[in-house]
Amino acid sequence: MAGFDKVVSSYQEAMAGLEDNMTVIAGGFGLCGIPEGLIAEIKNKGTKGLTVVSNNCGIDGFGLGILLEDKQIKKMVSSYVGENALFEKQLLNGELEVELTPQGTLAEKMRAGGAGIPAFYTATGYGTPVGEGKESREFNGRQYILEESITGEFAIVKAWKADRYGNCIYRHTAQNFNPMAATAGKITVVEAEEIVEPGELSPTDIQTPGIYVDRVILGQFEKRIEKITTSD
């Protein structure tokens, strides 16, 4: 009996079942809190035609940016895709499609996807290019647009500590989109800095309950920083 032990020992196992043209939802903000090893495995695997839902697309040569090198991404759903020359090139060439989505709407679309809410109304984007082609509607004298939720075949998540049951906690602002991504994958894979035994994390501290998580792998992280700013 395997019970609730979700730990896998290889990246191949962690991303088993990922196929061309699937949708992958990724946690992370910029390069902070990204599942580095899972992204590298997607590159190694060579899966193509991916739709990737992530606030950003990494930078040239790091993070999700490495999936651009072999043109593995067909479409990005993101709020901000600067800092990436290869991205720019592929976008201008028409090799890459991008669906710009306001950051809060993106976070809420992932949450709604995981929470069984197919759509919600938000004032964000009303009257802007984001609202074009979307239903709008008035509530209490204000206009809102209808936004549909997002789910994906896979979600890839970076945790600080995960227990064998998949319960996760995140470190500082590396939390960001990870908890929502974790809920929105049909298969959710967590790459953690540390794997602990069930019971070591206090029940109330757990930020992603294991019910959302299918696989857990121990990762090693470079944790590259985009902008080192200091006071001294």
Partner: protein, 219 residues
Amino acid sequence: MSLSREQIAQRVAQEFNDGDYVNLGIGIPTLAANYVPADIEVMLQSENGLLGMGPYPTKANVDADMINAGKETVTAATGAAIFSSAESFAMIRGGHVDVTVLGAFEVDQNGNIASYMIPGKLVKGMGGAMDLVAGADNIIVTMMHANKHGESKILTECTLPLTGVSCITKVITDLAYMEIENGEFVLKERAPGVSVEEIRSKTAGQLRVDGDIPEMTFV
């Protein structure tokens, strides 16, 4: 004389009230944190999931897991809270942030703002700006009054794709502090040494000037 970036930031900070939760955009808005009056406290919200942003860390304390929405390394202030992006935007979208300060390419007399996209140029994305302008009641835009060619960016109607509609209430430029009311810019203060005539000449939108317009004061 037109204001420097620092002076714009300084004037912005005068709009803060004690106990305000404030979101500062990248650029001039971020500088406003340096000019919070000594007799008040504000708490900075960073939309990547931090309420209570502190100063930059010392070199020894740089932590890749501790960044702000500009992807800069930061610290947490005493009493800070850290949370997910969904929670962060629940806060923003739900109107819990008291003041939002952000830059813009254009604003118009109906409170519309264009700040994220210039057609023909590559679009990098709106980040959290659309949520911020949709969520806050008190939005201050910081910008230059005119572009390099002297063309006004304070318009009757924005020409660029919008970030938000009917949402901007205050504009602080290098020349003036204006509020937007009933479809017009209301001139409240002039930059020191800048005449009403100069402001008028660089304002394409409807400008209301009631009586004498005081100069801004900086402590």
